[in-house]
């Protein structure tokens, strides 16, 4: 491939004069190529073909080496065979991968789905995975190689980097450092190890701001090795979570855990022979896992250590009644229980938990140990601290940063930037020209995972090949290509590198088949790490218990967590994630300082006050949010905000919590002070009410109550006689579409919301408009607190359009822009809507969204690619709402007709259904008595929201069942 010649031409004439083009045309249009020597003939041909030549692919006009990507042609049952092609690949967060299927329309990826064959998700996705496709098309991505701020080229970079390597090579690599995030990619790890072998004095540092530091250190303390722990929640009768939000994206494997956990919940709810599981959680701030818990112990993050110590005492030695009750339950379920330590709890808690699980006999049954998933597990905090020390000492001459943003997210006490300035040559590979790129001599745009050849491992070690769906939009490079420069094969592509690695792994004649199948399936068979048994965790003695128990700190604590929407900040510039309401408080476009109402009173602050947070000598201003259910004497702040060089979306939003965090208190610490500076900060929340206001949209009961009154979810006064109407009911003879949402399974993670946004081209409106109540998400997840607001239960309820048979919106539309289909869909006809908004007023569920302005971005060119071509993009003045993914329904019906077959249950999967990790949403044909949805609606827990209004909603809910411990007072 030509390295750095400009690839552009100024006119089609110029293009036509090249030999490659002619060869291409003759190949493409046999017998029709013009007489190239005749100017008229040539011009005529070009005039006729015009721009379609570009579409046909002559743009680059160079022959690419053949890198074959393999489509996922054989669909699993739920997916629709048809025009869009699906390719299996994998997305990594902090190095750990989850398999996805990327839907590609006309050569551009438009939607991410889960890969049903991948153990980490079994087909589900989370909100970050759904939003990742938008990052591919982000116009703020860096688009060119820069050198000292000016546009440069890949070729120049190669020269520079090779030069630096050669200089370092004279001293065996002394002074040459590579900084990456957590690396699980076998190929990349091998490349780096090969480099280190060749240059033994060089060093490789790894750092991810929200990596698994505690889990790794805890395993080291317990086993002497950085083992990886995975869990089998489907086998667990009792789960005790010590500040572990295992149902959210903060824990690798969470999608699988959500599936396993909810499948057990569902089985128990549907089948009286299956015992329900019980979940206890001790945490300082409300979380999605906390919303599923049967018992929620509110305590400071520091206090969790004390609770753990209490549990470790075992039997009746525990001090608190809660711990005693929990222990009793655990003891009664030896071998079928799980105690899980939070990712952000200190390593000692992890070590204790390993011992507790072992004592309970859970090891090998519900708690499985494998070798580390990381290719080269290290203590990442020491790793980056060592790098900073060496940089400060002047010992680092060349620093190559492969991904990551340490200037923004390295522990603040290290003062990374200061040390960085002493490095003679700094090169950064990244998706964005970020805070770090700003201070580096060289910046190379990174290829997005949808543009990359690579590989990665999942939470259980399963390896997947990452295959690209589109050529890098901006000439982005993968870390493999950069490492190839160091290995002196700069001309070797990432594809060849990755393939080369796996060829060495699978030394056999059928490598091509192996490669093909691995690409097709999205997983490399047999790469899940084997279980390690037998295993002995380091025992805990009384001294250790006393010491851990005594660490309950005094004074106000600060707790650092990755943000529920934006994560660790890598995807801050993703507008879908910025506008995704954070589950516990439905806040968008901001982060806040969470505090309990009692502590707020104590410290003289209230929601909207801007406070100066001072911690370990570092100060940051942030706005306060009083969070119901939050522990007293504790503050929670989230990462990912306060960016300065993220892009137009994220810059200047929120405050930078990384600036407060130091190596000594990675996740929590005491001794923080807050001082009120001013008031009146305006947040943008999508929901303002906290409780259900004496109504019952969300219905829950304990198992005991359920057995006593199975119809608790549908009391007499809420039912309406079937024929309560003056008009004859329509008979739905063909299909009768309906949806069932299981509130017993929904964790409130919002993956469905972003999936819907991606599938249906839903626009982003921005903070101001959200504050005015104009957010556009078709599917919202309501959050209700129940009980005393300082320690409530938290419930989540997804609300899509109900597709009421007696639709109130249809009655009042003056122009018939919303009508009912013969299959039961309430259809919104965008081009007929004049925008009176009467339908929204008459909808009791308020599921309709209005385009008050032209919210859809019609100008930004790169965003055209992310849109789903099967769904219209709405303009100003038009109402829109959930359509039960009518484009998918129609597509399935057409396909079925073409094949002359009936539509089967599972042929149509709505976007929200497909994304949900807990499988809480089920769509299907009610006229098919065997369909899943029909079976679910026959259950006694089934109820419709506001059924008593006689709307006859097609979307109904299954009430939540709780399984509280009778020994504990709160039942």
């Amino acid at each position: 491939m030509k390295s750095d010649e400009p690839l552009y031409w100024r006119s089609l004439e110029e293009l036509a004069s090249t030999a490659e083009f002619r060869a291409f045309v003759e190949d493409e249009f046999p017998n029709r190529a013009p007489d190239w020597n005749n100017p008229d003939s040539r011009r005529g041909f070009l005039r006729v073909m015009g721009a379609s030549i570009l579409l046909v692919g002559a743009a680059a006009c160079t022959k690419q080496p053949k890198e074959v990507i393999v489509p996922y042609v054989r669909q699993p049952e739920e997916l629709i065979p048809g025009k869009p092609l699906f390719y299996a690949t994998a997305m990594s967060v902090a190095g750990v991968a989850t398999g996805v299927l990327a839907e590609s329309h006309l050569g551009r990826p438009t939607k991410i789905e889960g890969n049903p064959e991948h153990s980490a998700s079994l087909g589900a996705t989370d909100s970050a995975m759904q939003a990742s496709v938008l990052t591919l098309y982000d116009p703020d991505r860096s688009q060119t190689v820069t050198h000292n701020g000016s546009i440069s080229s890949w070729g120049s970079f190669i020269t520079a980097l090779a030069g630096a390597r050669d200089v370092a090579g004279l001293k065996n690599g002394l002074g040459f450092r590579i900084l990456t995030g957590t690396v699980t990619s076998p190929t990349l790890a091998t490349q780096i190890q090969d480099f280190l072998t060749e240059f033994p004095a060089a060093k490789w540092h790894q750092y991810d701001p929200c990596g698994r530091h505690s889990a790794r250190a805890g395993a080291m303390a317990a086993f002497g090795k950085p083992l990886n722990t995975i869990y089998r929640f489907d086998r667990a009768d009792v789960i005790v979570s010590l500040d572990s939000d295992f149902l959210s994206a903060t824990v690798p494997g969470n999608l699988r855990y959500a599936r396993d956990y909810s499948s057990r919940r569902r089985a128990a709810a549907e089948n009286p022979n299956v015992a329900p599981s019980r979940l206890y959680i001790a945490e300082n701030a409300p979380s999605v896992t906390g919303s599923m818990a049967d018992h929620h112990f509110r305590m400071t993050a520091g206090g969790v250590a004390g609770f753990t110590a209490d549990l470790a005492r075992g039997g009746t030695g525990a001090a608190s009644p809660e711990a005693r009750a929990v222990l009793k339950d655990l003891e009664a379920h030896r071998g079928s229980s799980i105690v899980i330590a939070g990712e952000h709890q200190p390593p000692q808690v992890h070590a204790f938990v390993h011992a507790i699980n072992q004592a309970l006999g859970n090891t090998g049954k519900t708690v499985i140990y494998t070798d580390a998933v990381e290719a080269s597990p290290v203590d990442e905090i020491s790793s980056i601290a060592d790098l900073v020390k060496d940089m400060r000492d002047g010992a680092v001459e060349t620093l190559l940063i492969l991904g990551g943003n340490p200037v923004y997210d390295a522990p603040a006490d290290l003062n990374f930037l200061d040390a960085l300035k002493r490095v003679k040559l700094r090169a950064h590979l990244g998706l964005y020209s970020s805070e770090t790129a700003d201070w580096c001599h060289w910046h190379v745009p990174e290829a997005h995972y949808l543009e990359s050849w690579s590989d990665a491992r999942a939470y259980d070690g399963t390896a997947s090949i990452v295959q690209p769906l589109i050529m890098p939009l901006y000439g982005g490079k993968t870390p493999h290509e950069v490492m190839n420069i160091l290995a002196n094969h700069a001309d070797q592509s990432a594809h060849d590198t990755v393939r080369g690695y796996w060829q060495a792994y699978h030394k056999s004649d059928d490598f091509d088949d192996f490669w093909h199948i691995s690409l097709h399936d999205g997983v490399i068979a047999g790469t899940a790490l084997p279980e390690i048994l037998p295993l002995t965790a380091k025992a805990i003695d009384q001294a250790a218990i006393a010491s851990l128990g005594a660490t309950a700190p005094a004074g106000l604590e600060i707790v650092f967590r990755p943000d529920p929407s934006v994560g660790d900040g890598t995807m801050s510039n993703n507008a879908w994630l910025q506008e995704m309401p954070k589950p516990p408080n439905k806040m968008t476009w901001d982060n806040a300082v969470w505090i309990s109402s009692k502590s707020a009173e104590r410290y003289g602050v209230t929601t909207g006050d801007v406070v100066e947070i001072e911690f370990q000598g570092r100060k940051v201003d942030g706005a306060v949010w009083i969070m119901p259910g939050h522990a007293d004497e504790s503050l929670t702040v989230h990462f990912g905000y306060g960016r300065t060089r993220a892009g137009k979306v994220a810059d200047g939003i929120g405050f930078d919590a990384y600036a407060l965090r130091g190596t000594g208190a990675l996740w929590q610490g005491t001794g923080v002070n807050i001082k009120r500076k001013s008031g009146g900060y305006k947040f943008a929340n999508t929901q303002h009410t906290q409780t259900m206001e004496e109504r019952d949209p969300f219905r829950a009961a304990t198992y005991a109550e359920f057995h006593k009154d199975p119809e608790f979810a549908r009391p007499e006064e809420k039912r309406v006689a079937k024929d309560l109407s003056l008009f004859p009911q329509w008979e739905y003879k063909q299909h009768k579409w309906g949806m069932s949402i299981d509130l017993n399974s929904c964790t409130g993670c919002n993956a469905c919301t972003i999936a819907c946004q991606s599938e249906n081209n839903i626009p982003v409106v921005g903070k101001e408009e959200v504050a005015k109540g104009r957010h556009m998400n078709w599917l919202r997840v309501d959050r209700y607190f129940k009980g005393p607001l300082d320690d409530p239960e938290m419930y989540f309820q997804p609300v899509p359009c109900m597709h009421c048979e007696n639709a109130l919106c249809e009655l009042v539309c003056p122009v018939a822009a919303t009508v009912h289909s013969a299959e039961g869909l309430n259809e919104m006809v965008y081009n007929r809507c004049v925008g009176t908004r009467y339908c929204s007023n008459n909808c009791p569920y308020k599921v309709r969204r209005f385009n008050f302005f032209l919210y859809a971005d019609w100008d930004t060119q790169s965003l055209f690619g992310v849109r789903n071509p099967d769904v219209s993009v709405r303009s100003r003045g038009v109402m829109e709402k959930c359509s039960y993914c009518v484009q998918r329904i129609n597509s399935a019906k057409i396909d079925a007709e073409e094949r002359d077959q009936p539509v089967k249950d599972g042929d149509i999967v709505t976007a929200c259904q497909q994304a949900c990790p807990a499988q809480a949403i089920v769509f299907g044909d009610l006229n098919d008595p065997n369909s899943r949805v029909a079976n679910l609606k026959r259950q006694q827990r089934d109820y419709g929201l506001l059924e008593e209004l006689n709307t006859r909603p097609r979307t109904t809910y299954l009430a939540r069942l709780r399984n509280p411990n009778p020994d504990l007072e709160k039942g």
Partner: protein
């Protein structure tokens, strides 16, 4: 003495008191001259207050132009509406303006059929007020659309899409009701003006005025045949207009009553809205009549009897409205329905706009009770103040109904507030400007009081020897 002379006005325009509909000493000529004098007065002798008033109104008209332009350029989001409160000032103003119009039709049509003598001097001018109010109201259903350039889709016209409006929607009923109302009111008003156009034509000072009035007069010759047909036509139109007083605002009330929203979904709305409309309409008639009669010295034609009768009607309809409020609140409680009860809890103390409800009670129920006292009814400044208060109160009533009910409905997660923006206010004040500007223009250019009917009043009060002309 000529009508333009200032001195002329000081003698015969004293208010004759509350039991007379016309001042003493009038004959056919003096009545004609007094009314016509308003129009024929030289431009520079227009009362100063009219100049300032019109200038102010015109300023507001310009404000409306800016507000509407910005609205069309950016979209309906420049207002404070959101989900759940998707209807705000625009609909409140629409209902307020339509309501105001009802007084004119009642005075013109119903009081005619009921043969009330005190309607004559105020009917022309209140009918004009109706027309201008309907014009202002009619702007809002178009302005508040998300895609106003497609407003014509609400009309039933044959088209290539084979689409007709959806007839179950109250908004379509509105289209028919309001357009019928506008058409019939215009016809009625114009018909009533024909003999007066003829008078103006005959008395016109210059050729242009004569030609314009002449064209509008449509060849009126004041002959017996003309009068005979005229009386029949006038009665017919009055008969047509009468049911409109009840039907139009009932249909407008269906916008709310047909919806399921608690606070909207109540059967009391049609009579309650109609009573409220008449209430606010009379308040607006008083608000306009009192200054105009003062500035143009028409106190002998618009006497204390008129003021007092209108005050009594205001008091009466105010009591009906008060009954409506009480019934609504009682029924919300008596129904035992959770959402109904909460709609009132929200309105009265729990919601963000609870204070508007109490200001409403003060303005619409408490303050107008002063009208029970004859002394208050006889005091023109007091009546004017109460009329203004009632106008505000009726606007607040629509606000409470439309906005407060929308802020909190069935599902608590969707509860939200509505904060009017500067464009909401500009548009509203702009329509007030249009209304006032049109009223000022009307008073300046057309006879604000019905000349021929005043001549009939003169005849009935026996100041002229009988001529054999129709009744």
């Amino acid at each position: 003495m000529k009508p333009e002379d200032q001195e002329f006005t000081s003698v015969a325009t004293l208010d004759p008191g509350p039991d007379k509909v016309i001042g003493p000493g009038h004959d056919y000529g003096s009545v004609t001259d007094e009314i016509g004098g308003v129009v024929f007065r030289p431009f520079l002798k227009t009362p100063r207050q009219m100049f300032f008033g019109f200038a102010f109104a015109f300023l507001l008209v310009n404000l409306l132009m800016i507000a509407v332009t910005w609205l069309f350029v950016r979209g309906v989001g420049v207002w404070g509406i959101d989900i759940p409160v998707a209807w705000g000032f625009a609909i409140v103003n629409f209902v307020w303006w339509i309501g105001i119009g009802h007084a004119g039709t009642l005075i013109s049509a119903i009081l005619l059929l009921l043969k009330q003598d005190w309607r004559t001097s105020i009917n022309r001018f209140s009918e004009a007020m109706t027309l201008f109010a309907v014009a202002c109201a009619g702007m809002f259903p178009i302005l508040h659309l998300g895609r106003p350039w497609l407003a014509y889709w609400l009309l039933p016209y044959p088209n290539t899409m084979w689409m007709w409006p959806q007839p179950r929607s109250p908004l379509i009923w509105d289209v028919f009701a309001v357009s019928t109302y506008a058409t019939v009111s215009l016809l009625f008003w114009f018909t009533g003006l024909i003999p007066d156009f003829a008078t103006m034509r005959d008395k016109a000072g210059n050729a242009t005025a004569r030609k314009i009035f002449g064209a509008l007069a449509m060849g009126w010759r004041n002959s017996a045949k003309h009068w005979a047909r005229y009386q029949k036509a006038y009665l017919l139109l009055a008969g047509l207009s009468t049911p409109l007083v009840v039907s139009v605002h009932s249909v407008v009330s269906f916008d709310f009553a047909v919806a399921i929203l608690p606070g909207w979904h109540t059967t009391i709305f049609p009579p309650y809205f109609v009573a409220g409309a008449i209430y606010s309409g009379f308040a607006m008639v008083l608000t306009l009549a009192i200054p105009v009669r003062r500035w143009y010295h028409l106190e002998d034609l618009i006497t204390m009897r008129h003021i007092e009768c209108m005050s009594k009607v205001m008091l009466g309809t105010g009591l009906i409205v008060a009954y409506g409020y009480a019934m609504e609140a009682f029924m919300a409680w008596y129904s035992g329905g959770q959402y109904e009860r909460y709609a009132f809890v929200n309105r009265m103390w729990a919601g963000g706009y609870w204070w508007t409800y109490w200001v409403l009670i003060l303005c619409n129920i408490l303050i107008p009770q002063a009208l029970w006292s004859r002394r208050v009814r006889m005091s023109v400044p007091a009546v004017f103040a109460i009329a203004l208060v009632v106008n505000v109160g009726m606007w607040l009533e629509r606000f409470v109904i439309v906005v407060t009910s929308l802020t909190r409905d069935f599902v608590p997660s969707s509860w939200g507030m509505y904060y009017p923006t500067i464009w909401d206010w500009s548009t509203y004040l702009g329509t007030i400007g249009v209304f006032l500007a049109l009223m000022f223009l009307f008073v300046r250019v057309l006879p604000a009081i019905s000349i021929f009917e005043m001549r009939e009043v003169v005849h009935h009060t026996g100041k002229e020897p009988t001529h054999a002309h129709g009744d």
